[in-house]
């Protein structure tokens, strides 16, 4: 009992380590890609980390080694060097690739609906349940007629 508990504890600890380990992937694989100004390079990396690589689709362009990701990193750095704001660069990308390129989707009616769907479903479920179970109790059955009374006493007598 205790040994299995201990073993499970170890597994949990290991899992926690894996999950919580900071993801320090070296962003750019070629130093010549980097901007000379460290502050600008840091900004470019922060922007790139929010952009989806459209080839691998679940990696940021900073993490991906795909060709397109390298080109997009280059484009981001060009825009940063030109002195554009993060917002401007993000808009430039979204203009070309849609919101799909953002790893963090913006709050729109569509995404909002996605988030509140469980609550909506729960609400609808409660509504249906309330509607189904409440109504029969509201109407009390009418009193038995004479004939029904007679039938009832017949039935109980035979038993």
């Amino acid at each position: 009992m205790t040994t299995s508990f201990l073993r499970r504890g170890w597994v949990m600890a290991l899992l926690a380590c894996l999950l919580l380990a900071p993801v320090v992937a070296i962003a750019v694989d070629d130093p010549s890609e980097m901007l000379p100004d460290p502050a600008q390079e840091q900004r470019a990396e922060a922007i790139g980390a929010q952009l989806r690589c459209l080839v691998c689709q679940n990696e940021s362009i900073e993490d991906s080694s795909a060709d397109l990701a390298r080109d997009l990193r280059h484009v981001v750095r060009e825009h940063v060097a030109k002195g554009e704001s993060n917002r401007q660069i993000m808009d430039w990308m979204v203009n070309r690739y849609g919101n799909f390129i953002r790893l963090k989707p913006p709050l729109t009616i569509g995404t909002l609906l996605l988030w509140v769907m469980p609550l909506l479903a729960l609400g609808i479920g409660i509504g249906v349940a309330w509607w189904t179970f409440r109504r029969p109790r509201a109407s009390t059955p009418p009193p038995l007629t004479d004939e029904e009374r007679r039938r009832l006493s017949d039935l109980t007598r035979t038993r």
Binding site: D67, L68, N95, R96, F100, P141, P142, T145
Partner: protein, 192 residues
């Protein structure tokens, strides 16, 4: 006679029974439509919906790619009839696969090619082997024009209407059914 005393009335019971069936049926129809759209090529879940639709082509000017001549945004904007712009590369397998279809289509709709990140001699060899479906061919060596168009890979194809406006887009290889069901009807409607 004494129906009213029965707690759930039959119609309500039937309604409650039907509700899940209706929902399941609706979901079934939706899935069927989605899957049949996937096989016909009209629905592609991997397609990144190009926000470029119904916008004029971005500014660019690309050099010649042998055996064709290059073109620019001005050339496309000066057009009075629709053309198909097809991004391709010699290193791209789906591009090889769509060549026979493009070779049939070229007689009905002019196709302009853009060689994406390709060595000139490789692109030339590819086009010659494929039987050259292109009326003009430009070279996008660094792939930056493609990014401006919202291209995420090859092959990618755009239908350009009069005035250089992007009217349709696909990120998958062109198929015969795509031509018959989508491209030609749209191109014909843009001509008139």
């Amino acid at each position: 006679m004494n129906d009213t005393s029965l707690p759930p009335s039959p119609t309500r019971r039937r309604l409650l029974m039907a509700a899940p069936l209706v929902v399941a049926g609706g979901a079934g129809v939706a899935f069927w439509r989605m899957l049949s759209g996937m096989s016909r090529g009209s629905f592609d879940p991997h397609d990144i919906h190009a926000p470029a639709l119904n916008r004029p082509v971005p500014d660019f000017a690309l050099p010649d790619q042998a055996p064709g001549t290059g073109f620019s945004a001005q050339d496309l904007r000066a057009l009075k009839t629709p053309v198909l712009v097809n991004y391709f590369a010699s290193w791209c397998i789906p591009c090889v696969a769509e060549m026979p279809v493009l070779n049939v289509l070229k007689d009905r709709l002019p196709i302009w090619g853009i060689a994406y990140k390709d060595k000139p001699e490789h692109a030339l060899g590819f086009v010659q082997r494929a039987g050259n479906p292109y009326a003009r061919i430009a070279a996008d060596r660094d792939g930056l024009t493609a990014i401006d168009w919202g291209v995420s890979g090859v092959p990618e194809t755009f239908l350009i209407g009069p005035g250089g406006v992007i009217r349709w887009h696909t990120a998958s290889p062109i198929t015969e059914s795509m031509i018959a069901n989508t491209i030609m009807p749209l191109a014909d409607s843009l001509k008139s």
